[in-house]
Subunit: 188 residues, 2 copies
Amino acid sequence: MSRKEQIDQVATTLFKSRGFAATTMRDLALELGIEAGSLYSHIKSKEDILQRVCFRMADEFNAAFDEVKSQDVPAGEKLRLAIAAHVRVLTKNPPAAGVFLNEWRHLSEPSLSQFNGMRHAYEESFREIVREGIATGEFKVNDEKFVVLTLLSSLNWLHMWYKPEGKMSPDDIAEFLSNLLLNGLKNF
Amino acid sequence: MSRKEQIDQVATTLFKSRGFAATTMRDLALELGIEAGSLYSHIKSKEDILQRVCFRMADEFNAAFDEVKSQDVPAGEKLRLAIAAHVRVLTKNPPAAGVFLNEWRHLSEPSLSQFNGMRHAYEESFREIVREGIATGEFKVNDEKFVVLTLLSSLNWLHMWYKPEGKMSPDDIAEFLSNLLLNGLKNF
DNA sequence: TTTATTTGCTAACGAGCGTTAGCTTTTGTA
DNA sequence: TACAAAAGCTAACGCTCGTTAGCAAATAAA
């Protein structure tokens, strides 16, 4: 791992736990055992780090979803696969997921607009699956926008407590969440 | 409304949209049409504002839940009522809800510990309902901790897009979310 | 061994931060 | 009208911030 990657990684954990704005370059340097000024031999700016973390995660989510998109299965099954893919990315790197989900708003233009565009496209992909399920009668709901926002929200808190050493694997978690969302508490 | 309350209110919208750390006292003063120093005729400190907003909201959530607690109804119905109460508080003041949910970590000790205690107790109240539903066989799920975290997460994004002038009332929203969580997409 | 590259240090810059002291103006009350 | 309280202003404090310039050490390649 290059020094630059190491900086990104340590910065990610700090951004997640303290927030981007409340993390100083001197904090980050201290964590790495160097002086603040030395960071600038490797990075361009503080926001430079944030951009890399955010867009790298966005790419990962998109890549994971693309494999689901092409599958020719019923909407319910496709949604299960999409949830599993999403959970896999979330749990693979929880700190980066936390930054991606909570700190993106500290991006400045034009990165901010670009990021929002990607985010919107990703949500639209989920909506497409739900619309399909509604069209075939598999899903009984009628407001796919509301459903997808709820769905993603119920997934996106995972990074806050998921620990790799826990007893549930990412796929276990995905199955649990899929059952809950598709069948509900009463028919779980 | 006193000047102090007005300051709290304007600060709340700024804290929510830019984050606590990224909001300056000079920003806040500008929004109010006064000078930064003048704020200190009314408030003790920047964090003073954050404390008031966070604990005021915590009180509101607790008060709303207490009315549900005493009802003698099946778990499923009680959960519906708790969800409706939670949604009502969330939608009554979305900016304050946003601060309560996302900015509390900028509290310093001992407020931070106190806040976390209240938050934990609130979550525990929800868990109690779900445990009851599991015990009576009404809920088919088995991990009540996981369920409650998912449940609250699926509610707590609401403040981000809810607009009072929208076509769904808070109670409509609560019913929609209750149906989704209790019955699932397939049995909605 | 020479040379180039990577990595790091020191010291400082200009700017912005939360906050305070002391004073003036406005407002409400008797 | 007189007076007290509330509200706001100006100017500055001590501090921290992200970042830079210039230089030195370590590392790797030739």
